[in-house]
Amino acid sequence: MKKTLIYIGAAVLAISLPAACSDDYDKYDNSYILDNDETMTLTASTDYIELNELTPSEEAVLTFTWTDARQMPEEYTLSYITEIDLQSNDFNSSSKVRFEENEGVYSRSFTTEQLQNWITDKWGQSVNFETVISFRVIAKWDGGTKYAMPEVRTADITIRPYKPLVFDADKVFLEGVTTGTSYQQIGKTVENEYIYAEYDDFNAGYLGIRVQYDEAYQYIAPEEGYTGKFQDGTAVPARMVEPAEGSTETNPVLPEIAKWEFPKAGKYRVVVDLEEKEVTIYGPDNDFNEPFVSVPWYPQDDTSADAVTTTMDENADLWLRGACVGWSSDGRAMNLVQSLVDPKIFIYSGNAFNGRTDFALSGPFGNYNINHMCVIAPPLDTPDCRDEDNKTDVDGNGIKGNGAVVTMGTPMDFEIGGGDYRSAYWAVPSGTNYVIFNFRDMTVTFMSK
């Protein structure tokens, strides 16, 4: 995509053109017939303009100025009216934009936002083509003993609208000196289709986040007022920008404003959130990247045995336990995926399960089965989560909890332990096939996707 430019002041034109004929005051082609005593001139700041989305919304990018119309006796009341329209609409009453100018005002300016909105929304023009708009100023007299011919001056301006930069992506790539390669594609996260993330070794230098969307390239840059200077772990508001000058359709060039600093070599986590329009980069020294390590625990609570320490890293897993696996002593490995957004988040996405369930921190090993493990279970004071020891019903049977009630989609606290935790469960609803374990918040979220 070409870089859009605004040419202002390069071509200052004095324009005096025949009037269009769609309103009362210009039924008369006065520029041809009665121009001998007319004095008004119209000047445009340019005759061609390429709009740029990044131009501040309040900044005028196109200005018309005019001079006094001819002097008339004071019995007349002079008004200046300005209008802008698509040239081909010819100042149709339903399409033109009209301004009654205050007395003493001799100019009318327009912003990028105004012009873009009118061209695309009001006049229905494509952003892919140049558009010719017409501006006219009408000096109109009321009163007087005789009809006073209005003075009308019109200017035509060619405008290239911008293609709106949509904050979305079909593909996301990382590039720059940090990557060591020209660019590498990164994927959507398992847990959120709007979040792209990568955790990898990078060189010192700068990173570019290139986006391919609708067969065009854009870059994700810090929002206006923000910087790409390294801000470890801080979510930085972001915006889409066009590739730098010199880009081609197939070879975009990273613009300076879209460079994200990496101060030193090491393992970085890059999180691009298209929904929140934020970029978060965690550096090598940020303990955010540290995996969760459990306290030592003992299978079957046998402290004479060797203590086990579970590290929840990219290779870690949990095992389903309970009614969901038919009380199998082997349980079932969940094949969790570690989140790229947060290393303390693990996601299960697989076959649905339901019924009383908790999760073993480790699978069977040695002489121990799944019933001897440390588990992730509801806090023990959660109603109905566990069997009630030493309590029986009227028939003398032990009272069994049905399992803690699960609210689908809502993070629920969990605790880790052996002993009583091994008889505490959630009552997982049928259809549950997606679970998020968050070891940072110590919550679990059951979902059906």
Binding site: E75, R98, E100, N102, W118, D142
Partner: protein
């Protein structure tokens, strides 16, 4: 509003002229085309083409019936969705507007029965039982809310029930007729499409609806009992509301279909009483309301038994309409029409109406109401257009058609009719289909008067007389109707010396120009110039703001020196907090 006083031109010698139009030969930049006297300055004041001005008998009229949930009305109208894309100058980040920023008149439409449910019971009375008469509560809440918001009230009061599905004239009036005429009181009107009328003496009965049909009655306008009771009601209304502090106008005459005074049914079963009734009722209104303008409908069938038909086919009826309406105008009535935008020569606003009002351009103010109802436009099962779709392609075109028709009559006020949904209907349509026209009427259609040049002394001495020359223009298409009797003594152009700190008039240093007539300032007519003598007295030496304004002599307490500005001027000049336009800071010496 932008307020700025612009360039001063020091010239010499001024011509003394009063109420004169500036002639084509004057030329030059001076209003009088010649020199300014020594010690005087000419001040030019720039016009403001965009500020929204809220002025007497000008702008949008906000319609509402006496609804139960008044609080909801205020909330909805103060947060009303609008199409800001239709105003290229709009930089607001809000998605709603306050409708009361666009109109200052709350037009309460009801029936005679609504306001006078029983003999000698009026719902505006203090201490009325609001549980028994719930409309009294509605009226009270509207009055209180209007006062809080600086709005004025207006009223219209139907007395013919045929289109209302409600009893519009109170039953006690019928009781009196029965007592007077016995069994001869009751005429009948069949409603089976034939409209066969069997005359009685006091009133006629009919039914509305089918499931089951409901019985109603309406008085004959020529009936003496009706006229006597109607006069009593109108006089009671005037006793309460002939007060410019709270009332903008009263819209009569309430008779005929939709209160628009056509398709009338007289006891004679013909048009014999037509003119006499009109004169009688217009007398009642005009004699009751001395301070508040009264309004009546103009169309070709005023007071006639006719409802539809072309003017060419009924020349005598139309000629009498013209005579009657002219009489009303001479009595001080303003004109209104309620079918703007309906193009039909049979029932809409067409040639006769246009020609009639053209003769009264800038002689009588016109209030406009659209005829079509936007929610009723559509197509029947066979694809034939219904209602407004017979004349317009869409709601926007309808609004444009109404606007253009009203502009052709140089209307002072346009209508924002009510819909209980708040998200459809006329008001919603104006703000969402034609918000640009809402603004255009305020910026171009309404009168916008201001002094464009003033020649003032720059130093004044107590006790010495000076002549101030001032020239006025009206840049709006309507005129400021100070020629109607209710406004003649009400609005006066005045100059005053104001304390620069407090903004208060210094002593009684206010100087009225009795010759200045705002109704003579028109867009067509060009500027009108005046001169007025001022003589400061009892003013401590120092600097003061010499200001000009149009004072409302019915507001405040002029007799004790409490003068209130009554008109917002269309200028970029600086005004005081009380609305005076600063012309020049002048020095006063002993």
């Amino acid at each position: 509003m932008y307020r700025r006083i612009l360039y001063l031109l020091a010239l010499s010698t001024a011509l003394a002229s009063c109420g004169e139009k500036t002639g084509p030969d004057d030329g030059g930049g001076s209003p009088w085309g010649s020199n300014i006297p020594e010690g005087y300055e000419e001040v030019s004041i720039l016009y403001d083409a965009n500020a929204i001005l809220q002025n007497p008998l000008s702008g949008w009229v906000i319609y509402v019936p006496l609804i139960e949930n008044v609080e909801e009305f205020w909330e909805k109208y103060e947060n009303f969705p609008y199409n800001k894309a239709l105003d290229p100058s709009d930089v607001s980040t809000e998605s709603t507007v306050n409708v009361f920023d666009y109109g200052h008149v709350l037009y309460l439409r009801g029936s005679w029965t609504d306001f006078n449910p029983e003999e000698n019971v009026y719902i505006w009375q203090d201490g009325i039982d609001e549980n028994k008469y719930p409309l009294a509560r509605s009226l009270r809440l509207f009055e209180e809310g209007a006062a809080q918001r600086g709005l004025k009230l207006a009223f219209t009061l139907k007395c013919d029930s045929r289109d209302a599905n409600a009893q519009c004239t109170p039953d006690f009036v019928k009781d009196k007729m029965v007592a007077e005429y016995g069994s001869n009181a009751n005429g009948t009107l069949t409603s089976d499409g034939t409209n066969i009328h069997t005359p009685g003496k006091g009133y006629f009965t009919f039914t509305l609806g089918t499931n089951p049909p409901k019985p109603y009655w309406s008085p004959y306008p020529d009936d003496p009992v009706f006229q006597e009771e109607y006069a009593k009601f109108i006089n009671a209304l005037a006793a309460e509301y002939d007060d410019p502090e709270k009332t903008e106008f009263i819209s009569g005459l309430g008779m005929g279909l939709w209160g628009e005074y056509h398709a009338c049914i007289y006891s004679t079963d013909d048009e014999t009483p037509r003119e006499a009734v009109f004169e009688k009722v217009t007398d009642i209104y005009s004699q009751a309301f001395k301070k508040v303008p009264v309004v009546t409908n103009y169309h070709k069938f005023v007071g006639s038994t006719m409802r539809d038909g072309s003017a060419d086919a009924y020349p005598e009826i139309c000629e009498l309409s013209k005579k009657m309406l002219t009489s009303a105008i001479n009595k001080g009535f303003c004109m209104r029409h309620d079918a703007f935008g309906m193009k039909s020569g049979n029932f809409g606003y067409a040639g006769w109406e246009k020609n009639f009002i053209a003769d009264f351009k800038y002689k009588v103010p016109v209030l406009g109401e659209g005829g079509w109802i936007v929610t009723q436009g559509g197509y029947d099962e066979e694809g034939n257009p219904k209602n407004y779709k017979t004349e317009y392609s869409d709601a926007r075109a309808l609004r444009q058609g109404e606007y253009d028709a009203m502009a052709s009559a140089y209307v002072n006020m346009m209508d924002l009719r009510y819909d209980e949904s708040y998200v459809r209907g006329e008001t919603w349509s104006w703000f969402n289909d034609a918000y640009d026209l809402v603004l255009q009427f305020l910026r171009k259609g309404c009168y916008r008067v201001y002094p464009d040049k003033v020649i003032v002394p720059v130093k004044l001495q107590n006790g010495k007389e000076y002549t101030v020359k001032h020239r006025w223009r009206n840049r709006g298409e309507a005129y400021f109707p100070t020629n109607i009797p209710q406004y003649k003594a009400r609005f006066k152009v005045a100059f005053a010396l104001l304390n620069t700190s407090t903004g208060e008039i210094v002593g009684d240093n206010i100087f009225f120009d009795e010759k200045a007539d705002p109704s003579a300032w028109t867009l067509d007519g060009g500027p009108v110039e005046y001169s007025v003598d001022i003589a400061p007295k009892g003013v401590a030496a120092g600097y003061y703001d010499l200001c000009v304004g149009i004072v409302d002599m019915f507001a405040g307490d002029p007799k004790s020196g409490d003068y209130r500005i009554g008109v917002q001027l269309g200028t970029q000049g600086e005004t005081t907090g009380t609305g005076w336009l600063k012309v020049k800071k002048v020095a006063v010496t002993d």
